[in-house]
Symmetry: C2
Subunit: 445 residues, 2 copies
């Protein structure tokens, strides 16, 4: 790296992957080059993009000489200063990333799954090679959340970070809320609009947002949380019953990542689940494909950032801001930020923290039960609930005319996961309960 820290007139960039984001980066670097290059004081040269299929038709036209189907022709090219890893996945991406870092290149990435799984190894490889790994685009797309967390709000310790980190599920929930349609109906639409990832579980079961929560938790608290240590629930089970009742309660249902830390006990809790949230919170108005992140710091109070969480352009904006940061590094402009390579900083931070498992979650809850519509059922259900120690706050009953069934909707006062899961088990054993009870948490920031 040292020899690069002189003023440099041309910075050479290689892309791994030339899908939606890769083409967006190319397009915007080309489109904006005069303004951006003037700002950065360098010429940016897009050397080469590695693709899986050379013959594929693409939206962005690139001379054939600048495409290759050999990713090593990017990673091993000694003339390339910055490698943008935009292929996704965690296998080849890991190999190529480690190889590029080892060669002293700066790597820019939007790959949340890779960081979530191999972040520790990657950051350490960057540190050993004396280079840097940037990943602003990995969380919340165009919102500069990582820069805000590490630099803009560096004075703070964060008792709560929460937000909407998956645009697709937010889009589905927003349309369910506005149009009264079912989850499967809206999902079909979202699929046909290309909003759902090929691996649908990433969007629908919460894994994509969970990856992002892991990254934010590490940056704020220095602890790598494993997905299996977290509560992760997606949006598949949500029905119009839930949405309508949430509305009655003055709430909306949002898929929320919650990273909370109690500084008196140093317990850290990281979780991802749909939750009822009061419409009085600005976060409840973050709709459609937008993402929102709320950060509560001990000095600054609460700051909310809202923006496009995905899509070609928003993600390109974040990748390009990382490229700009990388350019400053390469130019040797001394300027501020905390690098993920400061392993000691994060190790020390993380050492203070005790991870609280899902069982430690305390919350008010919402329960939906489908039951036989018979005399005495409601009494039996409420009896079970109160015997298990759960205190009912509100209740409503919908009779399904002609089917002999009813749907019971409850909210409870503050309780905890142990009590609520024991309650669900007992309820399930009742002969009059027809389906596995459905549960949502009520989030009160």
């Amino acid at each position: 790296m040292e020899q690069k820290k002189q003023s440099k007139q041309v910075i050479r960039i290689g892309l791994l992957g030339f899908g939606t984001v890769g083409q967006g980066v190319w397009k915007h670097l080309q489109g904006n080059d005069s303004a951006l290059e003037r700002r950065l004081g360098v010429k940016l040269e897009l050397v080469r993009a590695a693709v899986s299929d050379l013959k594929k038709k693409r939206e962005v036209r690139v001379p054939a000489s600048r495409l290759t189907d050999d990713p090593y022709a990017v990673v091993d090219d000694p003339s390339i200063d910055i490698v943008c890893e935009l292929i996704g996945g965690t296998k080849l991406a890991r190999t190529l990333t480690l190889r590029a870092l080892k060669a002293g290149k700066i790597v820019v990435s939007a790959n949340k799954a890779l960081i979530c799984k191999h972040g520790e190894e990657i950051f350490s490889a960057a540190r050993r090679a004396g280079t840097h790994y940037f990943f602003e685009a990995s969380v919340a797309g165009g919102i500069p959340i990582i820069k805000t967390l590490r630099e803009g709000l560096v004075a703070n310790r964060f008792s709560l970070i929460y937000g909407i980190l998956n645009g697709t599920s937010n889009y589905i929930l927003t349309r369910m809320e506005r149009e009264g349609l079912s989850f499967p109906d809206i999902l079909d639409d979202a699929r046909s609009l290309g909003y759902v990832e090929a691996d649908e579980s990433l969007d629908l079961d919460g894994w994509d947002a969970a990856h992002k929560a892991v990254i934010l938790a590490y940056l704020a608290h220095g602890r790598w949380v494993k997905l299996k240590e977290m509560l992760v629930e997606g949006i598949r089970g949500i029905t119009q019953y839930d949405i309508a009742y949430a509305r009655e309660l003055g709430c909306k249902i949002k898929l929320l990542a919650v990273i909370s830390r109690d500084f008196s006990t140093n317990c850290l809790s990281v979780r991802l689940h749909p939750a009822l949230i009061s419409k009085r919170e600005l976060m409840a108005s973050v709709d459609e494909v937008y993402n929102g992140v709320s950060l509560t710091g001990d000095v600054v109070g609460t700051t909310l950032l809202v923006g496009r969480g995905a899509g070609q352009d928003a993600t390109s904006s974040a990748v390009i801001s990382d490229i700009a940061d990388a350019v400053y590094l390469l130019k040797g402009v001394p300027a501020p930020f905390i690098c993920e390579e400061d392993e000691d900083v994060y190790a020390a931070l993380g050492a203070e923290v005790e991870l609280a498992g899902p069982e430690a979650i305390r919350s008010a809850y919402y329960l939906r039960l489908r039951v036989k519509d018979q005399p005495g059922v409601l009494a039996r259900v409420t009896d079970v609930i109160s015997r298990e120690g759960l205190s009912i706050a509100t209740m409503t009953q919908h009779q399904e005319a002609g089917e002999g069934t009813a749907t019971l909707l409850f909210t409870t006062h503050q309780s905890n996961e142990k009590v609520v899961s024991a309650t669900l088990k007992s309820l399930k054993r009742l002969g009059s309960v027809l389906e596995t009870p459905f549960l949502l948490r009520i989030f009160n920031p």
Copy 2:
């Protein structure tokens, strides 16, 4: 500066001014020192604070030896690396800032009035001395808007930046909206809570927010706009008539800074005025003392940042983030950002821009007229309005029983300042119009 760019174990900080913000910075640097110092990899030493009255009682206790009533004992102390200018005002603050910069110190400031008035001179002094001037705290308090604009969203050109940049006026408008009380009533409360600056005109006539708009416009477009080139209107004239009618229209009234640029003509418009804004916009829900800034970039789309815009803690958070950036500089950590000292960058940006004066504003408008409650008056008023070329969209009339007067509220379709001000003049000449007509713009981002 060069000799400082080695690794350094102790960074020495001096404060100019030890009022609310100065004490906040001191408190949080002390309170957080272990975490922050670990993050920064240095020891931060608070050397000395310059105060105007040594005997004044203060919330934060500091040994007498660390206070001085001679600001030059801070600025001229060769051992001090970073000077935080927190005295406000534009005279002594300018002298001390220029002197500290000339001595090669990094200066951190929250002084929007100073930057607005003398930013060009200060930035150029920093550049000449090879040092830096940081001012995150000058705009929107704890929201890292300057870092976001310059670094996080560096890929973008901004067609629209708008927002709520003055917490005091937002607090007053919010309470007027919620409680139905008059401007003078709420103002009294705000004064007794200490929310209003000593120079009330800064908050109530829009000057404080205008200073901030000038800074954002410079950072985004490289052009220093003079206050006298801008439309600047405060909130003093707003009544419950306006707030209630805005509500009927699905709007709220917010004091908005608007920085818009048309990239086809390169016209830049910077203005500050209260406006009706639809409740569908998240910005309309930024209430109380909160600030909000919305940025629309050509790559990222629209990003919104919301947070505390003022107050000891939020402002301290921003000052400390600047201190952290300064520490990285002093440590010679190469890392990214664009400095205000890159005069060429901004000069080139600014050269592209044509400033559009207030007369170029196009908007829909809201008008309030107090008139004699007599037959034929409404016809005369609407006749004048349409003869001047203004097209009425909605109208409502409130009769003031017993007073023989009525208040007419209009909204118009899209028009421009020339037409609307000619209309106001003609209306004022009508014998049946009792007061100077009141005008608000309707902002539609």
